[in-house]
Symmetry: C2
């Protein structure tokens, strides 16, 4: 069986999961891959990014990020080219900043009550800044790349419908990485949890705006109105949107951060990469649009299981 | 029965729901109210804010907002004063920006292909900016005030435990306004949905960090570790955190925006204000900490029903 060459945009292409994904797509599946990341690709990665690379700004500003990706794709993609898949694997983890258990450092000598009050004030403001910047960073690293990818790619996403191999229901595919932890409350990692729960909501919302969604009658009606509003939205008719929710991915950084955990409980990047590749090749095997799919290692230890959670 | 005077911080005190709430708390329940808003209070409102007012910056920066509220409270609240309740009713609604159904304006005459390409590029960047700024505004107006209120108030929130009237289990109360719509996908109002789903997650997370949460054993253990980490966190032992999820609140702005809707299906601000007042007075009537409570008008049309959704 011959496939036409497919094109994928991978946002987060220089990360651990991203590098594994572009290797699998480019080398094993002969997909033309466009990369995007805040970190430039290594020369090894560059050889896999046959579609080019967009260097993203390291920013917590959503407009800045979205405009940079939009601009980069505009420069890389010709008018008649299409994206078959957009996969956002950018992300990072941070816990809440530890609240200081002590009052302001006692080596700052306050001469009087007014000084004392001012020392306390600056210390309170410092703590407030630290807390909020943690939330901002988590939104910036986990949620905003997904929103930027979803927005910037819409002008290029394939409408599908061509006869492609044995499966002609080949609309575009959008994949983002969520987190099993964010399916419920996340004490101790508020910013991370907020960014992932919002990512899940994006997957569900874009997914249920698609013509492939299985949802309520009123949502289907609303989604149809949105799709019909603009001719630029026809890619939504056959788009599949899926969130992959790992617990922990087995990466060098995670092993270093949690050396005493049982690594066999962690999901290998290649298992996620292969599943995404499968969804690109065999659209019939995709979960329904808007679904959140948990992944964990299978019991035999030679792969991973993907199960729809929501 | 006599109550000691309670103190409440109301973030969003100049909005429609906020004004109704400060009137009810201050006039009917004799609560000492501290207001906070981007809009200065009217002289009528000012007379109800016997605890003072913090003017917030109109910003989409979470650190800026959190620091401003932290600083304002530091200046207003004496060391031995306590907050009995923090209620965040700030918020706004916007739908997605309509995607232009037309290519760039044809009155821009492009001299050649390069100009043409540049016109298209600037137009794409404009659309990207509009889309992202909508998301930023919704996070800034709906989510960030909740996060800022939760953070800034922690230094002052009562630990409870005193004998107060007929109910001595009187820990602090934190209330935020969510949205029934954000319990599922929100096509057509992505930014709003993201901001509200994240608000729900904050309520669940802060709520389940409290000693009053009904949750899993592992979450209780984790939450206990967080509470014990710092002496500043002891208010969490008895804190109740509740999200109120309306469909539509009956406000002049909403009547103007949706003149053809059935207003009797909308919730009156006073019914929300009264329920919050009840939770302040009778802690035993509070929903469990971390819960999301839907509100809609009752069938008799003379009040509202509050039902735990999650």
């Amino acid at each position: 069986m011959m496939h036409r060459q497919q094109t994928a945009l991978v946002v987060g292409s220089s990360g651990s999961l991203g590098r594994c994904l572009i290797e699998h797509l480019s080398r094993d599946l002969k997909v033309r891959v466009i990369g995007a990341d805040v970190i430039a690709p290594s020369s090894e990665d560059e050889s896999r990014l046959t579609g080019g690379f967009v260097e993203l700004p390291n920013t917590t500003s959503l407009p800045e990020l979205t405009m940079a990706l939009t601009d980069g794709l505009h420069q890389l993609i010709e008018d008649d080219q299409e994206l078959d898949a957009v996969i956002c694997v950018a992300g990072a983890w941070e816990g809440d900043p530890l609240l200081p258990s002590l009052p302001p450092p006692i080596d700052i000598i306050a001469e009087n009550d007014e000084d004392d009050n001012n020392v306390q004030r600056l210390w309170l403001l410092d703590c407030a800044r630290e807390y909020s910047e943690n939330v901002e960073r988590m939104l910036g690293k986990n949620l905003y790349p997904v929103l930027a990818a979803g927005y910037a790619s819409q002008n290029y996403m394939t409408e599908g419908g061509g006869v492609d191999d044995d499966d002609n229901d080949n609309g575009g595919l959008f994949v983002a990485i969520g987190a099993t932890a964010a399916l419920s409350s996340t004490p101790g990692m508020l910013g991370y949890g907020l960014s992932k729960v919002a990512t899940h909501h994006y997957v569900q919302t874009l997914g249920e705006t698609s013509g492939k969604a299985v949802t309520t009658k009123s949502k289907r009606k609303l989604a149809r109105r949105i799709r019909n509003h603009s001719s630029t939205q026809s890619y939504l008719n056959r788009l599949s949107v899926v969130g992959i929710l790992p617990t922990t991915i087995d990466t060098p950084a995670n092993r270093q951060a949690m050396p005493n955990e049982d690594f066999s409980e962690w999901t290998n990047s290649i298992d996620i990469a292969k599943e995404i590749g499968l969804w690109m090749r065999k659209p019939a095997l995709r979960p329904h649009s808007g679904s959140l799919v948990k992944v964990h290692p299978n019991s035999k230890g030679d792969g991973a299981e993907f199960k729809v959670a929501r």
